[in-house]
């Protein structure tokens, strides 16, 4: 009787250690992910501060901030995640990585009007990990989920550009978002766990529609109307733009 008691104890001590370590690690990953989320959001806000006159300056600052997120916060994730953790703990870090992808894509889009590839993002992560370890690589799913979120930011950007009279820019954003949406309609159904993606597709369509409507409004009415009112204090309520941002 005694021997089986202690055998079971030994067995469970083993599992207890395993669970403690796993939970601690998960906790650290969640924290690191939260830091990544918070600071990536700041980068996105910074990009939004760009306007016609200060673009270069604001974007440079945003890019510098993004590099800081990579070095200080993504590096923490990289340190924690090894081997099977990458998929096992994905739920603990996916939101941070999605936000990070979104911020990186947003910076790139505002800079060049192109989409930053997954390989390019992953290349920036390689130097963060120890040469002997397999480097952390963002997976396709988190990248695509981040890209889906990007359209929300692009919607805000497009509305903002229209308010400042940069209609052509807004129309390019519109085209870009339409391309993303079209491409993702093919990907969404074959993604691993597509419930989350399905929801994002709906939101994305809403964002695309909002940009399209705003472009439409300004195209149809704005062109005549803006110069009549002057450029200093423009009342855009006639374009029903005020509730587009929500």
């Amino acid at each position: 009787m005694m021997s089986t008691t202690s055998a079971m104890k030994v067995e469970f001590e083993h599992h207890s250690n395993y669970l403690n370590e796993l939970n601690d690690k998960r906790e650290r990953v969640v924290k690191a992910s939260r830091d990544v989320t918070m600071n990536s959001k700041k980068v996105i806000f910074q990009v939004h501060r760009a306007s016609k006159n200060n673009r270069e300056e604001v974007l440079s600052k945003a890019e510098k901030d993004l590099a800081t997120v990579t070095d200080h916060f993504m590096s923490k994730l990289v340190k924690e995640l090894h081997g099977t953790d990458f998929w096992k703990l994905r739920r603990a870090y996916t939101f941070g990585v999605q936000e990070y992808v979104e911020a990186a894509l947003f910076c790139r889009f505002c800079r060049t009007g192109t989409v930053l590839g997954l390989n390019e993002i992953n290349a920036t992560l390689v130097p963060l990990s120890h040469p002997s370890d397999e480097p952390l690589q963002i997976n396709v799913l988190d990248y695509v989920l981040g890209l889906a979120d990007l359209t929300g930011e692009l919607m805000r950007l497009a509305i903002g550009r229209i308010s400042e009279g940069e209609v052509e820019y807004a129309e390019k954003i519109c085209r870009f978002v339409q391309n993303i949406y079209r491409e993702l309609t093919l990907l969404a159904p074959i993604m691993d766990d597509n419930a989350e993606m399905k929801k994002k597709m709906e939101t994305m369509l809403q964002s695309a529609t909002k940009i399209e409507n705003a472009c439409f409004s300004v195209h149809v009415r704005g062109l005549e109307y803006i110069p009549l009112l002057g450029t200093d204090d423009i009342d855009y309520s006639f374009m029903s733009l005020q509730d587009l941002d929500s």
Partner: protein, 281 residues
């Protein structure tokens, strides 16, 4: 032309929309000289908007083409895994049904024999699963959800059989080796193992009741000892608020039910005398 546009701005939404549609070709031809209003809003981008190259759309297409290929590949792997998991489920059902015979007082060796035949089938299926996962190293946990519940079920049945056989706990390592798993490559997830043990505990109250009905009055004592020990071993674990925690919380009801049966048997003096002392000491 200006007059038409001005009207378009202030008439009803429907009319406005129609006007807009008819106006589009005009806009395309409009030049800044005879349409000064458009200069303010269009062409603003020249002074600093991002440089959108025409290749942007095609590079995006290429990127997504890659993703589609990758996701289709992983989708195929998942489908194959699900196929194996379905077969596992079937084997486990047969195994479960054969084990249920213990409730009908079929002799333990006979039950064990039938259960073991299914263990071989399971071992085979886990071998196939490991083979599929060898194709995508490091992604065990990407697909894990597709065979989790089968593994938990397998542990519950195997550990019950093991207890019938040896009255001891099936360890994690033993469970792995019964299913032919190699922990360095394709191991059994610890949490799945623990959840499986909780499932096994659910089976014990019924077993005890039926054994007593069949006249085996010593059974409650044995089960109670084992379950008490298992329960206190589980209490060593720091659990999160997850599925395992919920299952463990359910274990105490199994324990209480077995205690009740033990009490019923003892209070009526049905339990063998020596055994009562054993429990008391």
């Amino acid at each position: 032309m200006r007059a038409t546009l001005r009207v378009a701005l202030f008439c009803s939404p429907l009319r406005r929309y129609c006007a807009a549609e008819s106006r589009r070709p005009l806009m395309a031809n409009a030049t800044p000289s005879n349409e000064p209003s458009s200069a303010g809003a269009g062409g603003v981008n020249d002074d600093g908007g991002p440089d959108f190259s025409l290749s942007a759309a095609s590079s995006m297409e290429r990127l997504f083409q890659d993703f589609r290929v990758q996701l289709e590949e992983s989708g195929n792997i998942r489908e194959r895994i699900r196929g194996v998991a379905t077969e596992m489920e079937a084997a486990l059902r047969v195994m479960h049904a054969s084990i249920l015979l213990v409730h009908q007082s079929v002799s333990v060796p006979e039950v064990l024999m039938k259960a073991k035949a299914q263990t071989d089938v399971l071992r085979d299926l886990y071998g196939r699963l490991a083979g599929i996962l060898r194709e995508c190293p490091g992604q065990y946990y990407r697909y894990h959800g597709d065979w989790r519940s089968e593994t938990q079920n397998a542990v519950s049945l195997l550990s019950f059989v093991h207890w019938l056989e040896s009255a001891s706990l099936l360890t994690h390592v033993e469970a792995e080796s019964k299913l032919g798993l190699d922990s360095s490559e394709f191991g059994m997830d610890t949490e799945d193992y623990l959840i499986g043990l909780c499932f096994m505990s659910n089976e014990l109250p019924r077993y005890v009741v039926n054994r007593v009905t069949a006249g085996d009055y010593d059974c409650p004592r044995k089960v109670l000892n084992f379950l008490t020990e298992l329960h206190s071993a589980f209490r060593m674990l720091n659990l999160r608020n997850d599925f395992l925690r919920k299952k463990f919380d359910g274990m105490k009801y199994d324990l209480r039910r077995v205690e009740e049966v033990y009490y019923d048997v003892k209070i009526r003096g049905l339990a063998p005398v020596g055994c009562i002392q054993d429990q008391g000491s």
